[in-house]
Symmetry: C2
C-alpha cells in the first residue's frame, strides 16, 4: 500500500504508519485518524484528463486515493449516483444553479453504502470474516447488505427506535441483528465493547478512519459531474459528522492535486432537536451531548463521535451551520417529491431544508452554485411523511373521482 503515506490523529496531530492503529493510541476513541496519501503518485493518475475516459461507473473509480488496492469482485455496485438539476425545483425556490446528488439509489438506499464498501474492502484485505457496527439504521443496513454480497458475516447493533423498514432490511441480510433497549448511544457503546471483545472488524464510521474515505467519493463524483469543478456550496445533513468530513476530505484532496483552486463552502444542517455540532460550531467549539429528538432518525445523534473532523471541515471552508425544524424537513420531503420525484427520508431532506433556510437568510446568494446531497431514501422510513400527505379515499366509481377533481 505505497499510496498511503500515513495516518494523522485529528486531536493531537501525532502520525502513524498505515494500518498501525484504528484510533490514536494516545487519545483513545477521541483520537480519530485521517488517511494521508502520496499525492504525487495520485496526481499522475487522478486528474481531469484520465478521469474523463475512465469507464468504471462506481465509487472505486478513485482507487488512487482510497485505502485499498483491489475492488472487491463480489460486491453490490455502489456510487456513480446521478447529479440532477431540475428546472421546476429551481423555479419553485428561485435558485438556478441548484443541484441534487441523489444517493437514494445506492444498493441499500443511502450514501452510507460508500463507507461500508470501503470498510468491507479493508476487511477483506485484512482477511477478517466478521464485520460489525452500531447505527441508527442506514449504516447498519448498508453494512448488512454489502457484507452479505461480499460473503462476510455481520453483527449489527441498532437502537430501539429504528424504523421498521430499515430493521427488516437488516434482518433479511445480516447474520445477526441486535436491537438494543436504549438509544443510538447505548447501541454504540454495546457494539464498541463487543467488537473489542470478539475482535470483529469495526465499521463504526467515526472510529474507523477508512470509512470517511468511502464517503468522500460522493464529492469526487460531484466534481466530475459538474464538469470538473467545485460548486460554491455543498449542503449536507449532519449526525455523527462523518459525511460532512468526507466531503471536506474530497475537495481538500482535489485542491492538493491541483484540480480546484479553492474549496467549496460547507453548509451543515442538523435537526433542532439534535444539533450538538451546529451549536458547538456557532458557540464554544466544544460539543455538549444532548438527548436527541427529531423525526430524522439518521441524524438523531445526541453525542456525535466525529465532531472534531466535522468542525474542522466547517472551519476550513468558511462553512455555516444551521438548524431546521421537523416541520421544515417534512415540507422539504414534499417539495423534493412533487418537484423532482425524489422520495427522501427525513435526514435526506434535512439538507434541502437547510439550504432553503440559508438561502432565505442571505447566507447563500442567488447566483451561487449549490449541491445538496440527498443522503437516503424515503422508502427507509416511509411513515415519517404521514403528517403531510394527502390520500383521497374513494368508492370504485368515476363520480367519486369527479368530486375530487374540482
Amino acid at each position: 500500500m505505497g499510496k498511503v503515506n500515513r495516518l494523522v490523529c485529528v486531536k493531537c496531530g501525532k502520525t502513524y504508519p498505515f494500518g498501525a492503529y484504528i484510533t490514536c493510541p494516545a487519545c483513545g476513541l477521541e483520537g480519530i485518524l485521517d488517511v494521508e496519501y502520496d499525492y504525487d503518485l495520485a496526481r499522475r493518475a487522478l486528474t481531469e484528463e484520465p478521469l474523463r475516459v475512465r469507464s468504471q461507473a462506481n465509487m472505486f473509480r478513485y482507487l488512487e486515493i482510497l485505502p485499498v488496492d483491489e475492488v472487491p469482485s463480489q460486491m453490490l455496485r455502489v456510487g456513480w449516483t446521478p447529479l440532477y438539476r431540475f428546472d421546476r425545483l429551481s423555479e419553485a425556490v428561485g435558485h438556478s444553479q441548484l443541484y441534487l446528488k441523489d444517493e437514494t439509489v445506492n444498493p441499500s438506499g443511502s450514501l452510507k453504502d460508500r463507507a461500508s464498501a470501503v470498510g468491507i474492502a479493508v476487511a477483506l484485505r485484512e482477511q477478517r470474516s466478521t464485520v460489525a457496527c452500531a447505527s441508527t439504521g442506514n449504516a447498519a443496513s448498508s453494512l448488512a447488505v454489502l457484507a452479505a454480497s461480499a460473503g462476510l458475516s455481520s453483527y449489527i447493533f441498532v437502537p430501539e427506535d429504528i424504523p421498521l423498514a430499515k430493521l427488516y432490511q437488516i434482518a433479511t441480510c445480516a447474520t445477526k441483528v441486535f436491537r438494543v433497549r436504549g438509544t443510538y448511544e447505548d447501541a454504540f457503546d454495546v457494539a464498541t465493547g463487543a467488537i473489542a471483545r470478539w475482535n470483529w472488524f469495526n465499521r463504526n464510521c467515526a472510529i474507523n478512519p477508512y470509512l470517511v474515505e468511502g464517503k468522500k467519493t460522493c464529492s469526487l463524483e460531484i466534481y466530475e459531474q459538474l464538469g470538473y469543478r467545485a460548486p460554491d456550496w455543498i449542503v449536507v445533513s449532519v449526525g455523527d459528522g462523518c459525511i460532512i468530513s468526507g466531503q471536506y476530505k474530497a475537495f481538500k484532496e482535489l485542491q492538493i492535486l491541483g484540480e480546484i483552486p479553492h474549496l467549496p463552502r460547507l453548509l451543515a444542517v442538523q435537526a433542532e432537536g439534535a444539533s450538538p455540532i451546529v451549536d458547538a460550531f456557532n458557540s464554544s467549539g466544544e460539543v455538549s451531548p444532548v438527548r436527541a429528538r427529531t423525526i430524522a432518525d439518521s441524524i438523531r445523534v445526541g453525542k456525535p463521535r466525529n465532531w472534531r473532523k466535522a468542525l474542522r471541515a466547517l472551519k476550513n471552508t468558511q462553512g455555516v451551520a444551521v438548524k431546521v425544524s421537523d416541520d421544515e424537513i417534512l415540507d422539504s420531503i414534499s417539495l423534493l417529491g412533487h418537484r423532482c420525484g425524489i422520495f427522501a427520508e427525513p435526514a435526506g431532506a434535512a439538507g434541502f431544508a437547510g439550504f432553503l433556510k440559508a438561502r432565505k437568510a442571505g447566507i447563500i446568494s442567488a447566483d451561487e452554485t449549490v449541491v445538496v446531497i440527498i443522503t437516503g431514501s424515503g422508502l427507509k422510513d416511509p411513515s415519517s411523511v404521514e403528517p403531510k400527505i394527502q390520500i383521497v379515499e374513494i368508492e370504485a366509481s368515476e363520480d367519486a373521482v369527479e368530486q375530487h377533481l374540482s
Copy 2:
C-alpha cells in the same frame, strides 16, 4: 418517427400506422398492439460494435428501437442496472451460471420505471400535461416519481390493500392519489373510465403499447452485460403479463437484428394464489379470472390484461410456467438477502423461487445460463418479511450479546 413501421394487434393481427390508436379499434381493450420498427434502419446503429462504445448508462441507449425520438431532459435516471453473479449464491443452490438482474436500484425501486420513462417520453412528445394509471403499487409509484421529475401532473389509482411504503411514496410525489375501495381490478376499471372521460395520458401498461417497449430495455441490457449474447433462460414473475412480454420483445428484436441465433427460453412464475396465466398456459390457453391472493402484491392480479402477449412469449420461446407458494417466496427473499445483500419485495423474489422449483424439477439443467430478474425492492413492502426474520432484542450490555452468540 420514421423508425416505427406500424402497430399490429395481438388479437386480430390488423395493422395500423404509428400513433393511430392506443388499442385496436376492432378488438377494444383486448386488442393490445405491438410496435414494429424499421429493423433495417436499426441494424445500422444497434449492433454489438456501436453498443460497446456507447457511453449512455441508462435505458435510452436503445433509442433506435424505442418509440420516442428524444430522451426527456428532465427525468430521473432509469436503467443500466447491475447484472450480478454471486459465488455464494451459486454454491448455495448448486448452479454456476446464475445471474441476477437487480432492478431494485431504479429511481422508484422497481423495473416499472422503464415503462413509465417511455410513457412519459411519449406523453411529452404528444404535449400531454397529465398522466394516469391504476396499479397494485410499483407502476403507480414509478409513474408518480417520474412524472414529477418531468414536470407532468399525475393521477394515480391504487387498490385498498397497497403496501403503505408504496402508498406514501406515491402520495409524496403524485399530484393526486386515489385509493379505491376494492381490488386492483376495481381500481383498474375506475382508472380506465376516468382516463377516457378526462382525456389523460394512459400509462396502464397492458393498454398502452409503448410501455412494454420500455420494459424490454431490461433484457437489452442483459444481452450486453452477458457479453453480447442471450442466456439460456430468463426467469421473471408475472402479474398482468407485461414484463415477460417486454423481455420476449427484446430478444425477438435482437434475433431480427441478427445479434443472437436463437431466443432464450422464458420461465414465467406466478404465486399459487394468483396464477391465471400459468394455469392458462398449462391447460386450455384461455385465461379465467380468479380472486387473487398472495403476499406478493405486485403480482396479485386476478384478471391479467396482457395475457395474450404473455402466452405468446411463452409459446414462442419454448417457455415454461410454474407456481410458487408464499412460503417459497419468503424463503427466496431470505436467501437473496443473506447470500447477495439484495433485499427483494415478494414479487421480486418470486422469480427466484420459481427458478429453484424449475431447477429441482429438472426443467432447467445445471449447465444452463440463467438470468433471474429481481423486479422490485423489499423496501417497498418490508413488513412482508415479518414471518421469517429473526431480531435479537437485548439489554444494553455485552453479556446480553454473549448469550446470543453461541
